[in-house]
């Protein structure tokens, strides 16, 4: 590599973008920006930022490189598999462009080191993330630090870019995100009727009980109907317990047989005996281990497992089931054996881990056969079990470039010209943009006031905030509460904490307090205070606001706008599995390229992976292209 080139040369190579960008180029050259996520969009974005002349780019990503990234994340090669995305991206992009300062953090963006001050040190933040949780976090931090955020996501051929500027445009949370799909426990455990029910059973129940940490709480399970089926829920609990007993015999020759007979013979017999359950449904058929094993056509399990596009018959599923069960048992035991003692190892389902996928695919299919449901190919099951979002280079390339075009507007100060941009598979538009919409007044994240609260950790008590700031300075009445992520610290009926210091209450630097005004007449919007610790002079109050605040009052919310229609067409019939259920718990964060999908004129709030789960239903949340 050549040493840093002399200035005239650097100027020469800048010619093209100087010519094209004009005045804004000067600002770009001085800028310091943050890119959260170095995956599909991130790789493209980093290339574009570097070749547009951005001076300093920080990259944060917790992820490591996987084989399935290589079809699009072009800064990574085969030899980088299992290495840090952030570090390799920095290395690869830097190699081609020695003139830009790149800094990489192989870390979680939620780590405390990335506090508000740190966020505030950037002119601009790009979200190139793959999960809702991190997106929401960055959204919150950027609002608190008052830094413009360019949020992006892709799904297959579709992409979306959204510019988020505090007080000027909708934030990420202005539109509620639909919670991922859940199923009633009884549907999964007792009365499946679709392939997805059996897949969820295999992945979230059977696999977890046999190889994972068996916890009562499985995110895909919806417990709202439990009370109606108390007796059956109790039975199911016993069933799970018995399965756990069998786990002790892992590694023995008859382990597959024991598992098989438990879940495909005995449990099914028990279900069949519950006559009430089958009045309206077809009874499941219990399988006999001996019979099924004799029907085996002679092909070995790992050979069948390679034919992932074929739908396997019962015998084939059986041989994959036994084979993968042995493979997984061996792995778990080897891991256990390596440890001194006491540490218990678990395996977790990973769609790209063939052993786990083979087990889930074959047991899901065997269960489907038992219940008269159509089996699926391993390829399909991988998508359904793994919440796979299709991802390609072209969409990422376009989406990342659209992010940079929006960055130009922000760098130029043309916030009014910033857009929400949508990318579609086809039709007359392909790329379309619309003006940003103003923040939603009732948004729980940005429809609030936020400020920094400087606290002297040695002296400050909660009362210093209640009396010294909220009541005297800001004019709060008696009806309000102070909350943090743990719970309520203060309200008119909870005064015990007033004399306690912030540290005693666990309120430290970079944590947040939310003040909720409960005034009946005209309540203020919520006030979010982010804590900075600093020893303050003796003559100063022990708690001070970093700025004077004029807190607006809550507006009444017009709920009539809450319903958004799709393209003016009649709604397709709702699929039974898709109905939202109250109080549904959420799925774990799927490893996907992006949740939000574009729909002209509105943000589609449906989670895309949701649609992919239900492959045999009308994909209601899918993007309808009306051209």
């Amino acid at each position: 590599m050549e040493p840093a080139t002399t200035k005239p040369v650097a100027t020469k190579r800048e010619r093209y973008y100087r010519q094209s960008l004009g005045a804004v180029y000067g600002r770009i050259k001085q800028s310091r920006v943050l890119m959260v996520g170095a995956g599909g969009i991130g790789c493209e974005l980093l290339k574009n930022l570097v070749l547009t002349g951005f001076a300093e780019v920080h990259i944060v990503d917790l992820d490591t490189i996987d084989l399935s990234n290589l079809n699009r994340q072009f800064l990574f090669r085969h030899e980088h598999i299992k290495k840090s995305k952030a570090l390799v991206a920095k290395e690869s992009a830097g190699k081609f462009n020695p003139h830009v300062k790149l800094e990489a953090h192989h870390a979680n963006i939620k780590d405390p080191q990335f506090n508000i001050d740190w966020f505030a040190s950037f002119q601009l933040v790009f979200n190139a993330l793959d999960n809702i949780d991190a997106r929401r976090h960055v959204n919150k931090m950027c609002l608190a630090a008052n830094v413009p955020l360019i949020e992006s996501g892709t799904t297959g051929f579709n992409g979306q870019v959204q510019v988020i500027i505090k007080g000027k445009s909708e934030c990420y949370d202005c539109n509620t995100k639909e919670t991922p799909k859940t199923f009633p426990v009884c549907t999964i455990r007792s009365t499946p009727s679709q392939p997805i029910h059996c897949i969820v059973w295999a992945k979230s129940y059977l696999f977890t009980e046999v190889f994972g940490t068996s916890e009562d709480e499985v995110p895909e399970f919806d417990h709202t109907e439990d009370s109606e089926n108390a007796a059956e829920i109790e039975n199911l609990r016993k069933e799970a317990h018995a399965l756990k007993e069998i786990r002790q015999s892992m590694g023995s020759d008859d382990f597959p047989r024991k598992i098989f007979e438990k879940v495909f013979t005995d449990d099914i017999h028990r279900l069949r005996n519950m006559e009430d359950m089958w009045k309206m449904r077809q009874k499941p058929t219990a399988l006999d281990f001996e019979t099924v094993s004799k029907s085996n056509g002679g092909e070995v399990g790992d050979s069948v497992a390679k034919r992932d596009q074929d739908t396997w018959n019962l015998a084939e599923n059986f041989t994959v089931f036994c084979d993968s069960l042995r493979r997984l048992s061996r792995r778990l035991q080897q891991a256990q054996g390596g440890e001194a003692n006491g540490v218990s190892h678990v395996l977790s389902f990973d769609k790209d881990d063939d052993d786990t996928l083979d087990f889930v695919a074959s047991s899901a299919n065997i269960r489907s056969i038992i219940f008269g449901i159509e089996p699926r190919s391993k390829f399909d099951i991988k998508q359904m079990a793994g919440n796979i979002i299709p991802a390609i280079a072209t969409t990422n390339a376009m989406t990342a470039s659209l992010c940079v075009l929006q960055a130009f507007k922000i760098m130029r100060g043309d916030l009014n010209k910033a857009k929400m941009v949508f990318l579609e598979r086809s039709g007359a538009r392909v790329v379309n943009s619309e003006s940003l919409r103003p923040p939603k007044p009732d948004c729980p994240v940005c429809g609030i006031m936020s400020s920094r609260l400087v606290v002297d950790p040695l002296r400050a008590t909660l009362n210093d905030l209640v009396q010294g700031i909220l009541k005297s300075d800001l004019g709060y009445g008696d009806e309000f509460s102070i909350n943090n992520e743990v719970g309520t610290l203060y309200d008119p009926d909870l005064e015990d904490n007033l004399s306690k210091k912030f540290s005693e209450l666990g309120v430290g630097a970079d944590s947040f307090l939310t003040i909720i005004d409960d005034d009946e007449e005209n309540p203020r919007v919520n006030l979010s205070l982010s804590i900075s610790e600093k020893s303050l002079p003796e003559d100063s109050k022990p708690v001070v606001l970093s700025q004077s605040l004029d807190i607006p009052r809550k507006r009444t919310v017009d709920t009539s706008q809450a319903v958004e229609h799709t393209n003016g067409t009649t709604e397709p019939p709702a699929a039974p599995g898709k109905r939202k259920r109250a109080g549904s718990s959420s799925l774990d964060e799927p490893g996907i390229e992006g949740q939000k999908v574009a729909k002209r004129g509105k943000v589609q709030d449906t989670d895309q992976e949701d649609d992919l789960i239900l492959v045999d239903g009308p994909s209601q949340g899918a993007i309808v292209i009306d051209d």
Partner: protein, 583 residues
């Protein structure tokens, strides 16, 4: 005991590859991937700086096209380094084809890259008579492009004669051709697809593909509906709330016909009435206060109660002469189209796709319903297959069309699309702006068509000035002969405006609507001004975006899946908008 296979499956074999491509196989399946891997893409990158072509290739190499060739006679200059990601400081002074090829190939070891350090003129053939630019014989080697599956032509100074040559060659050989521009904040590409270019697997929206035949039920379906709804009123609440909505609709349709001279609800008003009728039959005295299956039935009325009709895309296919006059060497596509045409003639409907939407139902009923649809679908496909086999015999064809191909055509028949490729809409000395385009600009003040006209004017200007600049430095389109290292000369705005006016006037002189160039020029001028400011420079970011768009269309064309852009797309980097036109 089972015997082990003789040779153990390779560890790093198809499985690793499948894993690498997993996320895209979800979009175009193994068949699409195979088509990509069989393809050889040719990039004619004579222009400067040509980043848009390289970025396009990047997006084709990652998903695994078989091979690519870059033809580029330029040498890497300092200014290339700041804009082309696939060059390093060490590339300076070396062949740009070699260097970009070297770094691009690192992206994917499965892909073969071939650099050709030749000017386009040398590559295509030296003697191009100016009076007969489209004569194929003027290629030194008339088969020079035969091994390629698709050609990308990046706009360059030497455009016109070479582009015309490549365009007519590609048309004659049914080779898809893309023509690309990226300049400042604007870009454009046009496609020249073969005629005909049929697409079977268009990936329609899954909700639109359901063909339920509610107005035309076959006996098995009718019988099942009858058996499940005969005693509708006496069913228990549970059963009543679980009758699949399709069967409810079939039942109420039977009732409706009885009171309407045997006719189903046809116009909107009747359908509304029918919908109310369905809604009124739901039980509301249950704990839920309603029934989901009835909600589903009511919601489906407007959408699902349509007489089967022949979609225009398919009609075009079936009426195409190639489908009617089969030859021994006709493509499989036409053979199947012919068999489907016969099926449609006989039954007045297409083969049933057989897919069923999800619905509230007992699983047993749902499965039975599914089986009824599938069985009918299978029978229909069988009938098409039989008629096709007898045609094959008549034509004495050697290799039968694969059953899989027939099946996928039958299942997607309603969405089959035929594109009649047409010549590239590009500059020619006497070219007219597309007939309807000028009116379009006047009618729609947001139209992005001025971008296309601006690029046309730009090409025109380049062509007019191609003889006054030395041929030895094709990489610098605006350099005057004297200044080699200093700032390149900018295209004069006035000259570009003149070119644009000429194009418009030429068109306005025809039979079309009377259009005054003065009305349109104000829309084109700002774009020309941006061209002047950019002075021939590409913005990496715009070329990256355009490279994404072009590659996406290339993938559609190579896989023959999804409907590609036909035939022109422009992008406006100021408004972040694109538009597609058929010109």
């Amino acid at each position: 005991m089972t015997a082990r296979p003789l040779t153990p499956p390779p560890l790093q074999g198809p499985t690793a590859k499948e894993k690498k491509y997993d996320r895209q196989l979800r979009l175009w399946a193994a068949s699409g991937q195979q088509a990509l891997e069989d393809a050889h893409v040719l990039l004619l990158n004579g222009g400067s700086p040509g980043v848009v072509g390289v970025e396009t290739l990047k997006n084709l190499i990652l998903p695994g096209i078989g091979s690519y060739t870059i033809v580029d006679g330029n040498v890497v200059a300092e200014k290339d380094l700041g804009i082309n990601f696939f060059l390093t400081d060490h590339s300076l002074g070396k062949s740009r084809a070699d260097e970009t090829c070297k770094y691009l190939t690192e992206l994917n070891p499965d892909v073969q890259g071939y650099p050709v350090q030749k000017s386009l003129r040398d590559f295509l053939g030296s003697a191009i008579p100016s009076d007969a630019p489209d004569r194929l014989s003027s290629l030194t080697n008339p088969n020079a492009l035969d091994k390629y599956s698709l050609v990308l032509f990046v706009a360059s100074k030497q455009n016109y004669p070479l582009l015309r040559l490549v365009s007519s060659y590609c048309a004659a050989k049914a080779l898809p051709l893309f023509y690309l521009h990226s300049l400042g904040l604007f870009s454009h590409f046009s496609t020249q697809l073969p005629d005909p270019f049929p697409i079977v697997d268009t990936h329609p929206d899954p909700t639109s593909t359901q063909d339920l035949r509610l107005l035309d039920p076959w006996p098995e379906l009718q019988a099942f509906a009858k058996s499940k709804t005969e005693n509708l009123n006496t069913l228990s609440n549970h059963d009543h709330g679980h009758v699949p909505y399709l069967l409810l609709l079939l039942r109420f349709l039977t009732d409706w016909r009885e009171s309407h001279d045997g006719n189903p609800p046809s116009e909107y008003r009747e359908k509304k009435e029918f919908k109310s009728l369905v809604e009124s039959k739901a039980r509301t005295d249950n704990p839920e206060g309603g029934e989901e299956n009835f909600d589903e039935a009511a919601a489906a009325v407007l959408k699902s109660l349509n007489k089967p009709s022949l979609p225009s895309g398919l009609r075009q296919v079936l009426e195409d002469p190639s489908s009617k006059q089969l030859q021994q060497d006709s493509a499989n596509f036409w053979l199947i189209a012919n068999a489907i045409q016969k099926f449609h003639q006989k039954h007045g409907s297409l083969p049933l796709p057989g897919a069923l939407p999800d619905m509230k139902a007992q699983s047993q009923d749902y499965i039975q319903l599914q089986n009824i649809y599938k069985a009918k679908s299978r029978r229909d496909i069988e009938e098409v297959t039989n008629s096709l086999r007898s045609t094959e015999a008549d034509l004495k064809r050697q290799t039968p069309v694969e059953a899989k191909e027939i099946e996928s055509f039958c299942k997607g028949a309603a969405f089959v699309k035929l594109i009649k490729g047409q010549p590239l809409p590009v500059y020619a000395p006497n070219a007219k702006a597309p007939p309807t385009s000028l009116q379009n600009i006047l009618d729609d003040e947001d139209s992005l068509l001025p971008i296309f006209l601006a690029f046309q004017a730009y090409d025109h200007w380049l062509h007019e000035n191609s003889n006054t600049t030395p041929q030895t430095d094709p990489s610098a389109p605006f350099s005057s002969s004297s200044s080699s290292s200093s700032e390149e000369a900018k295209p004069p705005l006035e000259a570009l405006k003149q070119s644009a006016t000429q194009t418009i006037d030429l068109n306005a002189a025809g039979d079309g609507p009377q259009i005054n160039a003065d009305d349109i020029m104000p829309r084109i001028e700002p774009i020309l001004a941006e061209f002047v400011r950019a002075a021939g420079a590409e913005l990496h970011n715009i070329s990256a975006l355009t490279g994404g768009m072009v590659a996406q269309e290339v993938i559609k064309v190579l896989t023959k899946q999804y409907i590609p852009i036909d035939n022109t797309c422009v992008f406006d980097g100021i408004a972040s908008k694109s538009a597609v036109f058929r010109l």
